[in-house]
Symmetry: C2
Subunit: 300 residues, 2 copies
DNA sequence: CATATCAATGAACTAAATTCATAAAATGCT
DNA sequence: AGCATTTTATGAATTTAGTTCATTGATATG
C-alpha cells in the first residue's frame, strides 16, 4: 500500500538529493528508507528511481509520485494541524440553541465580537428542537442553550448571563401608557400578542395573569419582534417583552413600557452547556463574552 | 501520525455503522481498529467518536476527519492506480527525438493513430540535443530516436522502419527536370538548399558529391520543408529530400524529383530505443505502429 | 590510486501492530 | 424482567513489519 511515509521519502530525497540525507531528516537510517522503497517498488511493480551509480534519478513513475507527494502531504499536515486545533478548542462549530425569542437581538451583539476573536470557530444558531432545548443539549444537537428556564440536571451547567425586567408594551396613545404599573385585572380588556409558544412558557401568564386568575380578552401570536411591535403601535394589542428591548425600539416604533404589577416581573437569562464541554476553549470564551455583555446595550 | 489507515477506518466505520463491520471489510479484527484509533486519539489529544452505549458518533473533530478521508483517500487510490499503469506501460510520456528533418511529416502520421490508441500516454517531440541523439537516448532525455544513422551500441536497439530514396528536387521548369537521373558534376552549377546541419550528415554530400569530389556552386540552409520547396519551385536552388516527401508536395508546389546518380541514393530510417525499455508496452506499441506505416502514404 | 561516499542487502533485533481472550455495557427479543 | 446477542474496550500474547547493524559493491573525489 502507498503510505504517507513513501510520499515523505520521495519528497525528502528529491529535496536533499540522496537517501542518506533524507534518512537523517526523517530520523531513521538510510537502510530503512532503502528497504521501504524497495518494498513499495515491488508492490507497484515499477521502479521509483533509476539507480545511476550512487545517485538516484526519478523514473516517470517516480516523478508522478513526487507530484502526488507535493499535493497530498500538505493536505495531511494541514488536517493534523486542524485536528490539533479541534483538540485545543481553537476550532469548531459553536451551535447555539435559543429558547428565548427576544434574546436574538442580544445574541447578535455577543456573537459579532466573538467571531472576530475566534476566526476558526463557526457559529450556528438553531431555534427549533424536537425534544426541547435541554434535549438538544443532551443529544449534541447544540452546544449552548440560551434560555430563561435553567434545569439543573447532572451533566449540564447553567449560568445566568443577564437580568432584565419583563414589561408590558403598549402604544404611546394607549390608556395604560401613562400608568406607573398595571394590575392583572386591567389586562382583561386587552388583546395580548405573544410569540407562538405554549402559555406556560410565557411569564406574563405564569407570573402575572394566572396567579390572579385573569385571562386577556384575546390572544394572538406573531413570530417576529418587529411585526409584533408594529401591531402594538397601531393599537391592535399589547405585548410582554424585556424592557431593554422595548427601549431599543423606542426611537423607531411609538410604544412605551409599563411595569407588570407593583414589583414588576424580574427575569434572568441563562446559558446552559454540557459539563463535559467546559474544557473547550472556544466555548468558555463564548460564555465569557456573554457575561461581559451583562447589561444589554440600550439606545436611548 | 495521521496515516492512511486512520482515514480508511473513519470512512468505513461511517459507511458500515460499526467498528466490527468496518473491521471485517478492512480484513482485520475489531480489536485492531479499536487500538489504532485509540492511539490516534491520544496522539491528537481529541476523541474522534463519542462513545454512546455500543455505538459511535463522530465528534466535530471526527466529522472533520471524515471530510479529509473523503477528499484524500480517492487521491491516494487514484495515484496507486496510475502508478500501476506506469508499471504496466499503459501510462507515461513517450519522448521522441528526431535526427531526420523531413521525417517530421512521417512522424505526424504515426503519432495521430497512436495517441488515439493510447489515451493515457503523452507524446513529446524534441529536435535539439546537447550530446546528439544517441546521447539523449542514453541520458534519458528521450525514449525513442528517429534517425537515419543507427549506432549499434550495447544497451541500445535500432530497428529500420522504412526505406526510401533520397532524390534531388528541382523546379518543373529546371533544365534537369526531365533527366532520368543526374550526375555529380551537374551539381557544380547549382545552388544547393539544405536543412541547417553539418554537411557530413547530409547524404547528398557523403554519398553523392564528396565521392566525386564535387561541390555545389552555392549552399544555403533553410529550416522548414515548406519554405525550402517554395525556394526550389521559384528556381532559387535545388534540394535533396525523400522521394515520398516530394510526391506529397507535388500537388501544391511545382517541383519534380530526379534520381541522384544511376543507382539512386537508398536510405533507411531507424527507430532507436534503450534495450531496458523494450518491456514497456506503450513503447513497443509505438514501434509497432511505426512499422505498419512502413510505406509512407503518398498523395498522388 | 587511495579514500570517501552512497545505495543495496541480509541477518539480527526491536518495536509496533494484530490477534486472542475476555470484560463491560447496551440493545433486542421473548 | 431476564436472557441472548451485539458491540466496544482492554490487557496479554503473538506475530508481523520495520529498523538497525554490519558489510558489500559501485562510483565519485582529490
Amino acid at each position: 500500500m502507498l503510505e504517507r511515509i513513501h510520499l515523505a521519502i520521495v519528497l525528502e530525497v528529491e529535496k536533499r538529493g540522496s537517501l542518506t540525507a533524507a534518512a537523517e531528516v526523517l530520523c531513521v537510517t538510510q537502510s530503512a528508507l532503502s528497504h521501504s522503497m524497495k518494498k513499495l517498488e515491488q508492490h507497484l511493480g515499477t521502479d521509483i528511481w533509476l539507480r545511476e551509480g550512487r545517485s538516484l534519478r526519478l523514473t516517470q513513475a517516480g516523478q508522478y509520485l513526487l507530484a502526488v507527494a507535493n499535493r497530498v502531504l500538505p493536505q495531511l499536515s494541514l488536517a493534523e494541524q486542524h485536528l490539533r486545533q479541534f483538540a485545543q478548542g481553537e476550532r469548531g462549530t459553536l451551535r447555539i440553541g435559543m429558547e428565548c425569542h427576544p434574546c436574538y437581538q442580544w445574541l447578535l451583539k455577543v456573537v459579532s465580537p466573538y467571531l472576530a476573536a475566534w476566526p476558526d470557530v463557526d457559529v450556528d444558531v438553531k431555534q427549533k428542537f424536537q425534544f426541547g432545548g435541554i434535549g438538544a443539549l443532551f443529544g449534541y444537537e447544540i452546544d449552548v442553550l440560551v434560555t430563561p428556564d435553567p434545569l439543573f440536571k447532572p451533566g449540564l451547567q447553567f449560568e445566568p448571563v443577564f437580568d432584565y425586567e419583563q414589561v408590558l408594551v403598549v402604544a404611546r396613545g394607549h390608556p395604560l401608557a401613562r400608568a406607573p404599573y398595571i394590575t392583572p385585572d386591567q389586562m382583561a380588556q386587552e388583546t395580548l400578542i405573544t410569540y407562538p409558544v405554549a402559555p406556560d412558557r410565557l411569564d406574563i401568564y405564569t407570573r402575572f395573569l394566572q396567579p390572579a386568575g385573569i385571562a386577556p380578552r384575546r390572544h394572538k401570536t406573531i413570530e417576529t419582534t418587529d411585526i409584533m411591535l408594529q401591531m402594538v403601535a397601531s393599537q391592535r394589542g399589547v405585548a410582554a417583552l424585556p424592557r431593554w428591548l422595548v427601549l431599543e425600539y423606542a426611537g423607531k416604533v411609538d410604544v412605551v413600557p409599563v411595569r407588570l404589577g407593583l414589583e414588576g416581573v424580574a427575569k434572568q437569562i441563562f446559558l446552559g452547556v454540557r459539563e463535559a464541554d467546559l474544557g473547550t476553549d472556544y466555548l468558555q470564551a463564548f460564555i465569557e463574552q456573554a457575561r461581559q455583555r451583562v447589561a444589554p446595550a440600550v439606545t436611548p
